[in-house]
Amino acid sequence: MRTTQRIAMVAAGTAAVLALASCSSDASGDADPSDGSPAAEDAEGVGPITFASGKDLTGAMPQLIEMWNEMHPEQEVTFLELSASPDDQRTSFVQDFQAQSGNYDVVWGDVVWTSEFAARGWLEPLDAEAVAGDDILPAAVESATYDGQVWAAPFMTNAALLFYRSDLIDTPPTTWAELREDCAIAEENDMQCYAGQFAQYEGLTVNAAEAITSAGGAFLSEDGASVAVDSPEAREGLQNLVDMFDEGQIDPAAITFQEQESANAFLDGSTLFLRNWPYVYTAASEEGSEIAGKFDMTVLPGIDGPGSSSLGGINLGVSAFSENKQTAKDWVEWMQSDEAQRVLVSVMNQASVRTDLYTDPEMVEVSPYLPNLQESLMNAVPRPRTPNYNAVSLAIQQNAYAALQGDVSVDEAITTMAADLELAIAE
């Protein structure tokens, strides 16, 4: 009997470790916006700062930071590189904010995090004139705005493009109907017709959002306070994707695709159309690529005309717990400057938030997709802006996925999605 009790305790101990998981998201961290600002040691808030960034895949971030540091030796920026996974980055930021440590003065945030961080009182409000002026893309500004206030400086932006095989297609489709007609060409050439990202993860939210907004639907109201998805337009948009799966116009394997798998399906020459981010251009045009010189890009298709892309990108936020807020604000503003953004486009090969760079001949020379991207960005729609973004995104993914799998009808999926979104934004 006694032994049994001991074993039970061993078992309890082992099982207990499990509960640790829930504890790392600490209860006390949800700061109220009103009590969140620690006393600044330096009255002017000027001094060295730390920039917590996602993994710098371009390798050029140190170059940008060096430019600033040379000009401002007293306000040096330290570059802190975090994980390559957005989820891990977000976890690091959340932990830093919850601890109110101020270790990260400036954080690199996916556009969909801005609302949540702002609502929790973790970001310092920024001056709209300084970081969200006329020279910045409106869609990017919108993504940095929450509750009528600008909370972050748009730094990089992104929108999806439709890649197609120009050796097989003369005039690229502008509507889904045209694209589906072109699928006959794929069949003749023994290729898959269309690929996107349909595995159940954030990429599916993005693809479903594009299908639904291109058909005139929306997930949430403009202010994020009510659910708007229960509409005929949303049903039409999702139905289109479901039909394409049913009729084999979307590669059946695409139900497991994330960005890279879908890019591979296009890069190996087995897919006619691909929805992806501009980065695929680099790999596709590289020496030795199967499809070099045989592809081109255009904007995503819609129902009656060109569709709208989901907006990607990075906003730079200033931590509410930073001790050197003034330097942090000056620096994020400088990161938007013409000087810095040119490095972003030409060295980092990323999309700028500055409108004028898209037509700059020097820049177009480096990245020929810029005019297409600008067109895509002009119509781009930010994903739902809500402090409960992750719960909202999960509700979209799960229900869209069920419809794509044919587990439920589109009508049912949208009805359930509306109910799930209702719960997600209520929490």
Binding site: I7, A11, L18, A19, C23, S25, A27, Q200
Partner: protein, 318 residues
């Protein structure tokens, strides 16, 4: 374990004046103070998080204010809005555990029996069997994710054209295969240790009595290796019930492969709902605790003896 032993040992000695007991009492007291540091560490890293997680689960998850809500988070998970996903996850977790533990035990025992034979290259075989166990689960998950890709090696070898992680049945199979591949060696290792302490003369005697191989296995090997085997199963049971990495990486929890741990992480880390997440963690903890307790009670597993902790406890604990 020594902690509990020394604590129980101390008590009967306090009222006696027998010199032998005095010495033992001194030993006991010393032992007590020696384990105090471990006790403190355990309190900090185990007791505190468990209690805190429970306390936090009684509060709400709003942004800013987090009012006391009592059992609301639990009600929500058990029969409220979250009940469908909670019970789906519980069902999948137990199904996954049952199937994978059975397979792991069958394969693990077979591996151990082979590895226990004396033959050339036995050392190499034993080492290579352990390789999957040495690979971190997350890495194994990525490996199997590639293997089960529509263009992956599994389809290439079998000639099938199956989208493994794109439908419920195949996803479940893929995750179970990955888990069995990874942890059958663990069962093999523990069982092998158990096999090696069975003296060879028992088998000789059996052979003289005319027992065939099957009889030897059922009448000698199995009963003698039973304690080690049950401990292996207990460990596997606890491990499988808290499975997170494989489904999180291979399917992202899609196609009905969300386990309880995936749900806990989703709520508490991804959606920043420590209250609801804490409730899910506590419920998961209770489910695992009850399962382990029932297993131990029904099969009378003696984990401590088997773990090799041989203290004089038996003598003085009665």
């Amino acid at each position: 374990m020594s902690l509990i032993t020394s604590l129980t040992k101390r008590q009967p000695a306090t009222t006696s004046s027998d010199p032998a007991r005095d010495i033992r009492e001194k030993d006991g007291r010393l032992a007590f103070w020696l384990v105090v540091p471990s006790l403190i560490v355990l309190t900090i890293v185990i007791a505190f998080p468990v209690v805190w997680s429970f306390v936090r689960s009684l509060y709400g998850d709003g942004i800013g204010a987090t009012p006391f809500v009592g059992g609301d988070n639990y009600a929500n998970a058990l029969w409220g809005n979250g009940s469908a996903e909670f019970w789906d996850a519980a069902r999948f977790t137990y199904f996954f555990t049952a199937v994978s533990v059975v397979l792991e035990v069958l394969i693990g025992v077979a591996m151990a029996l082979v590895a226990n034979r004396a033959f050339r290259g036995r050392g190499l075989l034993r080492a290579s069997v352990l390789v999957p166990w040495a690979i971190p689960t997350a890495v194994a998950a990525v490996l199997w994710k590639w293997a089960f890709d529509p263009n992956g090696i599994v389809n290439a070898v079998t000639g099938w054209d199956l989208i493994w992680t794109g439908a419920e049945g195949p996803s479940t199979v893929a995750i179970i295969v990955a888990d069995v591949w990874k942890t059958a060696p663990f069962v093999a290792l523990l069982v092998l240790a158990g096999l090696q302490i069975i003296p060879e003369d028992v088998y000789e005697a059996a052979r003289l009595d005319g027992a065939n191989a099957r009889q030897q296995f059922l009448r000698i090997t199995l009963p003698l290796v039973r304690p080690a085997l049950l401990v292996a199963i207990l460990f596997r049971l606890l491990d499988a019930l808290r499975m997170y990495d494989l489904p999180a990486i291979m399917t992202g929890g899609a196609n009905g492969t969300t386990t309880l741990s995936v749900l806990v992480v989703q709520s508490s880390l991804s959606q920043l709902k420590p209250g609801y997440g804490g409730a899910l963690a506590t419920l998961t903890f209770l489910l695992i605790f009850i399962t382990a307790f029932l297993f131990v009670r029904m099969l009378n597993v003696n984990a401590v003896e088997q773990a090799g902790v041989r203290t004089p406890r038996k003598k003085d604990s009665e």
